[in-house]
Symmetry: C2
Subunit: 236 residues, 2 copies
């Protein structure tokens, strides 16, 4: 005899489940407007409070967006800059900094391989601009960090895999919490920045020539360098 776990005790979870099914069946698509809270209250026979609990949960994960006076809509993409709840969960784990570094390493190498195969001319051009930004940002830590981030972010985008891009962003955001100070220290040294720029240049070349293995090798080299610096900073 086997019993199935009874779940969805809570009303707001059942509401989410129904919305999920509507999405799965294609009745709700990107950009669609959901019924108003008061309408759903009638349709589902629940209170507005429960509906709002469901909506706030769905809004947190970036699935929907509520606009006062207008209504509630299914977000049309998760490319945009939404708060990533994953980073919150990762906050709780011990040794998470090491694990994030390790995971970023393997993902970034996979990423750059795919990007080497698929990067468009526009993306390659974009990458070039970030190398220049990195060089010209000397002394402005925020700009340096942004240029570095955008370089890696664009590679992830060039991989053509949106789920992979999403994961890379999750890791990046989580790392911001854990090694933010370290990052700022690294970037503040001019010597480090020129090294970064040189390594980015090597990766860029390999991408330009659509050479996955070479790109992977250059990325490894870059990450080795970065991780060495981070470890030195953390220990010393």
């Amino acid at each position: 005899m086997e019993f199935k776990q009874i779940k969805n005790n809570k009303v707001y979870e059942q509401i989410i489940e129904q919305i999920r099914e509507l999405i799965y069946e294609g009745e709700l698509k990107k950009g669609d407007k959901l019924p108003s809270e008061r309408q759903l209250k009638k349709d589902l026979g629940v209170s507005r409070a429960s509906i709002r609990e469901a909506f706030s949960a769905l809004e947190m994960i970036g699935l929907i967006e509520s606009r006062p006076g207008e209504g509630t809509f299914i977000r049309d993409s998760f490319d945009e800059d939404i708060f990533n709840p994953l980073s919150l969960i990762l906050l709780l784990n011990d040794n998470v900094a090491e694990e994030l570094l390790e995971l970023r390493r393997v993902l970034e190498i996979d990423c750059v391989k795919l990007a080497a195969e698929r990067a468009t001319e526009a993306e390659i051009e974009e990458l070039h601009s970030y190398i220049e930004n990195l060089l010209s940002s000397s002394g402005y830590e925020e700009d340096s960090i942004k240029a570095d981030k955008m370089f890696h972010y664009t590679i992830a985008r060039a991989s053509g895999n949106k789920v992979l891009l999403f994961f890379m962003r999750s890791i990046s955001e989580a790392m911001d919490f854990h090694i933010k100070n370290t990052r700022t220290k690294l970037v503040s040294k001019k010597e480090t920045m020129t090294d970064f720029a040189r390594q980015h240049q090597q990766i860029f070349k390999a991408l330009q020539e659509h050479d996955p293995e070479q790109a992977a090798a250059e990325m490894k080299n870059h990450l080795d360098y970065v991780e060495k610096l981070i470890n030195k900073e953390i220990e010393g």
Copy 2:
């Protein structure tokens, strides 16, 4: 002149932000009990409804857990079987099935390499049992699927990287939505199952010998086989 985006309009978002900071600063740790909703209502000067909206959002992403009559707690691990909100977002994306397969491929290969280096005796023994389960489950699709899943899941766990494990689970859950029927069809053929078992056996051997490259090669072989079957099933 530079303006910062004004965010956190909503009360429930500000509550989440405060909780996040408490976690970041170490004042809230795994297993800790949060103040009761009525206490927070006093402390923060907001309504219970807003607090509950914040809590439902945090519960959705698996950060907290509310137990009637007891209170609300920070979850002590995200190993457990929580609903993964990622799979909901991924529902919206086109071509997501292909992207998931591609991403699973690269992650699984990275995974098995790490596992080859770090797998403990207990984990290797566990893997062995799932191969036997796979062989003896012939005809019972649910059992076959479970044995297959557990094999891959255990490898992810053996990688020693919890964040990686978390990602693998997210992908697995998301794939369940998108190719569930396909999976069941695959598993229903006895021939396929013996092939699976043989390939698992090869992966297992490489892990047992702690040979990362060999393990990666065997895993590639296995995934090639699986993906070929899936494509055949989807097209035909």
